[in-house]
Point group: C2
Chain length 366, copies 2
């Protein structure tokens, strides 16, 4: 999707691909094999680029810092990446900037684990590093389950973050694009629906009162400034009564912004490219009164074989397939519908996902 | 632009490229060098494709027919291509289907040339074959100029079409996507502005009375059916008082449909791919009350070097650069603006084209 945006602007892009099956390898001419966790691969790759950016945060941070010192331009910088790569650091950084976060404890011992679980019997356990896209987040329903899992996670020798399960009214996200000098555009917040920690549905606008929407956008802008991101930051927020609690950050094009390809004047991918090249940013406004994006999550069915049925299901839906093997629980595409209201867009998008053979969880209200 | 649409649908595409500098070579991983005028190249290329389609009509028609007989699937077929590849055949075919065309004569001798020029002192001379995108269309302002040029063109041993310069009220175009079985979608007609035979500006909607718009769409559908196109047909029409005269046809994604990328629910490129793969077609509706597309025509200035200025000029405009050398008079990109009315969209799009260093002809009313 980044490549599609780069084509329009005439920006030549080279991709570092971990695998011959990567989506980028299938659609772009200029790539090389390597891992963002490898110092050597990053050094070789960076040498051919004016600016290096990211579509995930699983990178060798120490290697990045070395390369930055030798003159390689990473946007976002290793400093911004470091904040989001460590969930404990992220909680501290957000807290320091005066923004509310859920209650949390750092747990290093069995005793601290017991204390945390006795305070929060239903808890979320997160190793501070290594998670990505819902992986590395574990919900436990009672202390004995928490103790068993927590001890196993402590054994990994990665700091552990424990927090209560938040009984939120809704989960929202806001994406901010920020240039080097601090120029920003803030997208309209979206409502996200997560199932088993995985994003399933994104809708815009949120339908929240205008003052709350402005608060969410202002939180997004404050986070972007405080971590001095160059590129995008996606801020995931719990709405709990009148409170807004900052849950997670990502500094890259994010699933909660995929609706922007057709649903906004300028997509998150184009604004990401513009921001990291220090080009003026584009208007993020919604182009329809209701936009829904639903992920195609693998069931084993190859969605290409269902393309005709899915296109016949809805002649106005926009289908994106990533060319990935349709393994169970894997994100392999998404469907966006722009409509005159969110409810209509949601129903239509899920019907197309079903026609493509994607998962339709029970939690979904259609 | 076809590749960008193919990426979303997960359709693997291979390109036949005439040149290492071709846009497709710059952005797509799967291409081979060759010419669509070469029987040998077409045969080799076709062997690796399930369906072969076109982005221009400069092809070896006899070679295509041979390959079709051996089982290669061309969409559109050689039969549809033959109609548009020959301007005389096209005029006859459109006339036979009962649709009005401008007056015309086939000219084979100096005597016939003199007759035509005495009837129409201001005339358009078109060799029947070999033209593409405004090239191969010559306007003469008096008979002596016409005689000199006409004799030269007759020397090329290609049939010559002569017709009067039509004093039209406006030029419009309509794009139709048509599947194998005849299913069609018809885009809203657009108004085109041509300068020296080259398309400069496309706007939608046309602002013509609803009944005229319906007539234009119905002409598009009749042309698509009569030439049995599979893929797209763009029909260019002169509006002369109450008359609609069919001027030119193209059976491919067309410059008069570039606005559809952001301006319509489904772009012409996606509907072209859907049609040639016999997939259900997408809604062609406009997504904004006024849409303008303006071509970036080369002046020698590399538009990439002006990208920052152009993006700063208008944060809501959409810029497409084709990665082509900015030779004088060459189409090297386009700019689309969606707005609340056409006039606003036109003014904004031209301002961005100017910022990119593109030509701004005097004929343009901004």
């Amino acid at each position: 999707m980044m490549h599609q945006a780069g084509i329009s602007l005439g920006v030549p892009m080279r991709f570092l691909a971990a695998d011959e099956q990567d989506s980028a390898v299938q659609v772009a001419p200029d790539w090389e094999m390597g891992s963002a966790m490898s110092d050597v691969d990053l050094r070789r790759f960076s040498a051919s680029c004016d600016v290096v950016t990211f579509e995930h945060e699983v990178v060798d941070l120490e290697g990045l810092e070395d390369l930055e010192r030798s003159g390689v331009v990473f946007r976002p910088s290793s400093r911004s990446l470091r904040v989001v790569a460590d969930k404990l650091g992220m909680r501290r950084a957000v807290g320091w900037s005066g923004l509310p976060v859920p209650p949390w404890r750092q747990v290093k011992t069995r005793e601290e684990l017991d204390e945390a679980l006795s305070e929060w019997p239903r808890a979320v356990l997160k190793p501070a590093r290594g998670g990505y896209d819902g992986r590395g987040v574990f919900v436990v329903d009672d202390p004995s389950e928490g103790r068993e899992l927590g001890e196993r996670l402590l054994g990994r020798r990665v700091p552990l973050l424990v927090e209560p399960v938040i009984d939120f009214d809704s989960e929202v996200a806001v994406i901010v694009a920020r240039r080097l000098g601090g120029e920003m555009v803030v997208y309209d917040p979206v409502t996200t629906l997560q199932v088993d920690g995985q994003c399933r549905q994104v809708t815009a606008p949120t339908g929240l009162p205008e003052a709350v929407v402005e608060d969410i956008k202002s939180i997004g802008a404050r986070v972007a400034d405080s971590i001095e991101v160059v590129g995008l930051v996606a801020v995931e927020i719990f709405v709990v009564g009148a409170d807004l609690l900052v849950n997670e950050l990502a500094v890259r094009p994010h699933n909660s912004g995929h609706h922007s390809i057709e649903g906004c004047v300028t997509s998150q991918f184009e604004n990401h490219i513009r921001a990291v090249l220090d080009l003026p940013l584009g208007v993020p406004d919604l182009v329809a009164p209701g936009v829904a994006m639903v992920n195609v999550i693998g069931t084993g069915v190859e969605p290409r074989t269902r393309l005709s049925d899915a296109l016949a299901q809805d002649s106005g839906a926009r289908i994106h397939l990533y060319g990935k093997e349709p393994r169970i629980d894997r994100k392999i595409g998404h469907v966006t519908v722009c409509a005159s209201e969110v409810e209509e867009a949601v129903g239509r998008a899920w019907a197309v996902v079903e026609a493509l053979g994607g998962q339709v969880p029970e939690e979904v209200e259609r």
